[in-house]
């Protein structure tokens, strides 16, 4: 018996919906097997992983706090990947946004005005966008592979951050810990209500709406889709591939930078060696799981945020390593890619 694929004449809309569901289902099944192998009750572990985070107000807030950056970055990456532009350096752009935005409170610790926060956000966005423009420029000007350059720049950004907070930006009263001073007042993003949720969540929703409109209705969105599917046809249509590359990189860099500054001016309130727990990489999974569709990215971002919470949950309650979170996320991406084949192809088992 061999597996044989038969091409469908049209994309299957049914499968476009079912494929993520199927992928999540298989991931859960494999997760259950993993928990059994680790010696735990799979039902309980999966419950703590994916249901428990939604059962208390505190953890729901925490899910929103984590989902916001994933969605912000994921939406930008979805645009990139639609254009066949492979920005995988969002983690670096996030770091750069955080770092440049944070320079304001670090250099002007006593400056308190609403302007400070606005400036921080603007600088965060600009920092991410400009840092993302580097691989775009290198690709346009020298045809340098953007996958490799954008990834290399992640290491560079992280080392730069490391140098700053161990050197010039270290809090002099911080007992030599590698961290900056604590931000306060207008240097911190105001929370929405009592809890930890802050306006970053609103930014994420606004980004989803704007990008969904752009991709679905505007010529710019059409241009991005066309250039991504067929650069030659794009050029025939009069679209400029290089402009699309730069636009996509800067857009996703800006969103990643915004996510970065929202992290340091939000939950952390200071610069630390790790601005994010790998949001920039997880957002790659978010983008694909959301089938590169902004609305899909929204739900995918929430799901992956839950998995972060679940990872912490199983560690605290059952003593299972939170490394399982990354495994879940990796499996999910793998399976979503595999299941997406069903959109274009029918699978038949035939005798060889």
């Amino acid at each position: 018996m061999i597996l044989r694929l038969e091409r469908r004449s049209q994309r299957s809309t049914l499968m476009a919906f079912l494929s993520p569901v199927l992928a999540i289902g298989i991931t859960l099944a494999l997760g259950a097997i993993m928990f059994v192998a680790l010696g735990f009750d799979p039902g309980e572990a999966l419950y703590i992983y994916f249901i428990d985070p939604l059962t208390s107000a505190w953890s729901i807030e925490e899910v929103i706090v984590k989902a916001a950056p994933l969605i912000l970055i994921g939406v930008g990456l979805a645009v990139c990947y639609t254009a066949n532009v492979w920005n995988i350096g969002a983690e670096g752009q996030l770091t750069m946004g955080a770092l440049i935005g944070a320079s304001i409170p670090i250099y002007f610790p006593d400056w308190q005005s609403p302007l400070v926060l606005i400036l921080m956000l603007v600088l965060g966005i600009a920092g991410g966008a400009l840092f993302a423009a580097i691989p775009a420029f290198l690709k346009n000007r020298f045809s340098a592979n953007e996958i490799l350059t954008s990834l290399m720049l992640v290491y560079v950004a992280q080392l730069l951050l490391d140098w700053l907070i161990r050197g010039p930006w270290r809090d002099p009263d911080g007992y030599n810990f590698p961290q900056s001073i604590l931000f306060e007042g207008w240097q911190v993003i105001p929370p929405l209500g009592e809890g930890r949720v802050h306006i970053g969540a609103i930014f994420a929703i606004v980004a989803v709406i704007i990008v969904a409109f752009m991709m679905g209705r505007t010529l710019r969105g059409f241009e991005i889709r066309v250039v991504g599917t067929s650069p030659r046809a794009g050029s025939f249509a009069g679209f400029k591939g290089k402009r699309v590359v730069l636009f996509c990189f800067m857009l996703s860099g800006a969103l990643a930078g915004l996510a970065g500054i929202c992290e340091v001016a939000g939950p952390s309130g200071q610069l630390q060696p790790n601005v994010s727990p790998g949001y920039g990489f997880t957002a790659i999974i978010v983008a694909f799981l959301g089938r590169l569709n902004p609305i899909g990215v929204f739900f995918a971002g929430v799901l992956l945020a839950i998995s972060y919470m679940g990872g912490e949950g199983v560690q605290v309650i059952l003593g299972i390593s939170d490394k399982t979170t990354q495994v879940f996320q990796g499996m999910l991406l793998f399976l979503i890619l595999a299941c997406d084949t069903l959109i274009r192809y029918r699978i038949r088992l035939v005798r060889s």
Binding site: E6, S9, Q10, R11, R217, T218, L219, R220, F222, R225, V226, T229, S230, R232, A233, S235, F236, A237, G238
Partner: protein, 529 residues
Amino acid sequence: MSVGAMGSDNGNGAAAGAYILEARNIVKLFGDLRANDDIDLSLKPGEIHALLGENGAGKSTLVKIIYGALQPTSGTLFWGAAPVTISNPAAARELGIGMVFQHFSLFDALTVTQNIALALKGERDLKALAGRIETVSADYGLPLRPGALVADLSVGERQRIEVVRCLLQEPRLLILDEPTAVLTPQEADQLFVTLERLAGEGCAVLYISHRLEEVKRLCHDATILRLGRLVARVDPQQESAASLARHMIGTDVAALQSGSGAATGAPLLELAGLSMPTDDPFGVALKSIDLAVRSGEIVAIAGVAGNGQSELFDAISGERTSKSADAVKLAGAPCGRETITQRRRRDAAFVPEERVGHAAIADLPLSENLVLTHHAVGNDVVRHGLINRGAAKDVMARVAEHYDVRKNLADPEASALSGGNLQKFVVGREMTRRPRILVVHQPTWGVDAGAAAFIRQSLVDMARSGSAVLMISQDLDEIFEIADRIAVISRGELSEAYPAGELSPERIGLLMAGTHERAGRDVEHGAEA
């Protein structure tokens, strides 16, 4: 040299009337499509047998079954007199079946010798092989340099590799798929000499073509397919080109209404000293091209594939811009440095050669494919940067109706259309704008006869209504059918445009060859060195 030796083995010695290959009741289903429906085919040694039919008639499917690239759903193949299963191309070659593909199965980055070695099982000594290639290719009048990279060779030379590759396998049956489509008339003549010699040595030749004059001249027997079914087995010598065409198409093709006596007006498309270097090592540079196409006329550019046609098309359309504004003028306005969008706004329209991946995107619905060329030409499709899907669908529906685009859904993806229907769509998409300047590249390539006739008629009507039409084509029949003037492109240089009546196919062939002959001498030099 063992091809001759092989002849004594079977060909001449075989009893007259014994078939070398027989296919009986071949059926091949692709899903619901009956690509081959109960087809019989038989060939004798030493016979040149034509396989005729339109695009989509099932020729390629049948040939792939014989060559082992496809398995029949039912039916039997006989080799000699024994039933055989040809499970893959290697098995076919083992039997002595050689095939020259229409789309060559060559490797650009490899040498001639390496390319040939890949088709010969167990060929390990490449030096000895190179020697044999030189001998055999010279012997059959198809000279080749074994050490040359395929990427550096002309289309004609590439085809020689395919033929020599088959000859080295000592074929008892040689299959050629549209071999002359890429050759100059002179190169084609040389190929016929080779084929006749092979047949004289006892090799059977299965010759696929839609050029009926050629078939009448070369072939001893003909099998004709239509819509997957066998419709006739005829002696081409006894038929006229028209009667063969009738068998293929089923009806008479509407004769072209030329509305002759073209009243030509002012030049609308002018090229003056258009040069364009290439940054692609496999590309062709354009060298100081001059041309004027006037209102009311169709000018054709003939030439063998790969002589700069695509580069010229891109330079005229504005996909690649020129350094000098005056190199390209549309309706008198210098626009060499303008983008394709700006040129479209000057009432010019373009139809590139590749339907899928250049003119259209396979995965997008037709209405979005329409937006590709309509987004900046001042209709309702795009306004203030927003796409009006309703308007796009309306225009698309109008194109489909006027240009006879047959589709199953209201707005199917481009990939769901047949080649002919998609071509009518991409041509109609431009014509519906009633452009004053129309540039088309290979407008009927790989399209069935009905669609081809329809498209040619549309081009003629367009010109007669006062537009300037430039057609780049490799199909000489098509060119003679509709062109008022003809220019020939060779190695990036364009000849003067002559009135169609003053040119014979032979003269065009010489113009096409232009520098080819020189290339041929180089090859012989290389062989001696």
